[in-house]
Symmetry: C2
Subunit: 345 residues, 2 copies
């Protein structure tokens, strides 16, 4: 059984959910505060049944053959299209470094990984060579009329290739892409429902940067907005809040699973408070807090019992290019061990 | 002389120019209708002098040593940040296919190319292997404990590598990245002023997808917008129009150069009209019109004399994966020949 390939869902024609108000104050934006109402009013992406099938096969394979735990790692930012024929969209910044790096450490620690990622964001293993300022071709050289890997990079690249091939051959990694927030929400729901059979052996590691705001599908212009059509040359975009799906995830879709959300802030003064209030609101197991400025050096595990455990790289580790995920993931797994324990007793 | 490398300007800390209105109708958005006022009120990116130096050296090298014409190719979409510590931004969709592909054909036809591109968008040559659903590592294989290029891909990749190395060794290609619309505008201005010495031998091929709207720097929140801080859970973003810089380019910055702009629409009924009115307004030499849906199969050259010349791929060419840029660029060069001729007589 070979692992399914990542699908190519073009940004140019997303399952879009947006509207633009150019009439300024009269327009009453649709308010969708309820998760069910969201799914009633927004169409699923057309490819969803195909993904459901692939994910089910993946989960069944591991239930029957490997007994591995399964981590769903979400990664990268979602988009909110501003037009149906999308030229413009609002994006949440995220290269996907946290998710792609974490996925590798989950794999190394014996988990199978469902990697739900923004298309073209960083992927496990290939992340070491993509998105660099070095061009792909700078790793190549010509010798005796043949192309080869530049010997400077060959040893390191072989190590990465072996890990990548291990993950492929053991069918431990499945790549599922999204672009829009609508695609993300529908796919998360579907994958979560599939993972229900895993009970406490499923781990949700929700590192994607999901838009807080969106524009309901009901008022989406078909064509590119013309600047001449706007009042005083201005464009006013009115966004509604994305419903909070985490409680639905905890209570219905993935009951029994261990759920970890992330809180990314830029203001140090509100980080712990916001992480704590997320736990109070959704009753899940762990919030990993981080600041945009220091996220590669330190994170904080905020737990329902009130503990705030910081994980930090020391100076030597920073100099040695140690990845903080190499310390985070074993700590996450320890919490997962306890979760499984407490659910079995 | 080795060509300068593309710089890594992080999206996380752009020279941002934005404001968000959460108070809804009272706020009077700053109107910046004039190009000079824009530059007075917005700071240049800190790295601009470095780019200026690199571009000047590149131009001087070709003026002294190769007498090549120089094409400035702009490519990819600009962003408009919504916060200073940017997590969210508005983006214009463009993978940069048109620009990256066109740059290769300019190089093959003897031009030197300044490639002003959105960071991480497609680049000439590496475009054949990046952004594909195939992972970088899928092109590699292990044999006798060594990593090598999979023989399936080796011949084709060698051809691309040779062209890439030719461009590097002849110092014919310089890569200049941007992320925000402010970085784009400042860099375009600077590069244009440097190209002034080339007179009619300079060609501007403005394929980048530049935002029509932005938010003036004067009202930019420092930290991530909190959804709890918005009225009724809504977020209203009020954008001003980006000043139209093309007339400044034609009249001042790059006087004498041949200037080509692009018009991308989704509505076939307004394409020619909009292309023609751009020519009327800016008095430049050529607008290349294209529709989002068919842009890889057909484009139209709209000229000041009223001619609309379509360039289309026929069925055989489409089946044979012919790139439309292989026909477009020779046609562009013919127009450039005439422009140089008319300027010398």
């Amino acid at each position: 059984m070979t692992p399914p390939q990542s699908k190519n869902f073009h940004t140019a024609n997303p399952e879009a959910e947006s509207a633009i108000d150019r009439s300024i104050p009269e327009f009453e934006a649709a308010k969708i505060s309820d998760e069910d109402e969201y799914f009633q009013n927004h169409k699923p992406p057309s490819y969803l049944p195909e993904i459901e099938k692939e994910v089910q096969e993946f989960i069944e394979y591991h239930r029957k053959n490997t007994q591995k735990r399964i981590a769903l790692v979400t990664s990268g930012g979602t988009t909110v299209p501003l037009e149906n024929n999308t030229v413009r969209f609002i994006d949440n910044f995220s290269a996907g470094t946290r998710g792609a790096t974490s996925a590798e450490y989950f794999l190394e620690n014996g988990y199978a990984v469902i990697f739900l990622h923004r298309e073209f964001s960083l992927l496990p293993y290939s992340r070491h060579y993509s998105h660099s300022t070095n061009c792909f071709l700078d790793f190549m050289t010509e010798k005796n009329d043949k192309i080869e890997i530049n010997p400077k990079f060959a040893d390191e690249m072989l190590k990465v290739l072996r890990k990548y091939n291990d993950a492929k051959e053991s069918n431990s990694l499945i790549l599922i892409p999204f672009t829009t927030v609508n695609q993300y929400l529908y796919t998360l729901k579907t994958v979560s429902e599939c993972l229900h059979v895993m009970s406490s052996k499923a781990l949700f590691y929700l590192a994607a940067a999901v838009s807080d705001f969106f524009i309901p599908q009901s008022r989406m212009p078909t064509h590119k907005i013309q600047s001449s059509a706007t009042k005083d040359g201005e464009l006013v975009i009115r966004l509604a809040q994305v419903p909070k799906f985490l409680s639905r995830l905890v209570e219905n879709w993935a009951q029994g699973a261990m759920i970890i959300s992330f809180k990314l802030e830029t203001d140090n003064n509100i980080l712990i408070k916001k992480a704590t209030s997320a736990l109070d609101r959704y009753h899940h197991q762990l919030v990993i807090g981080n600041l945009l400025q220091t996220r590669k050096k330190e994170v904080v595990f905020v737990k329902p019992n009130g503990d705030n455990d910081w994980i930090k790289l020391n100076e030597d580790e920073i100099k040695g290019n140690v990845e903080i995920e190499s310390k985070m993931i074993p700590a996450v797994i320890k919490v997962h061990d306890e979760w499984i324990q407490s659910n079995s007793s």
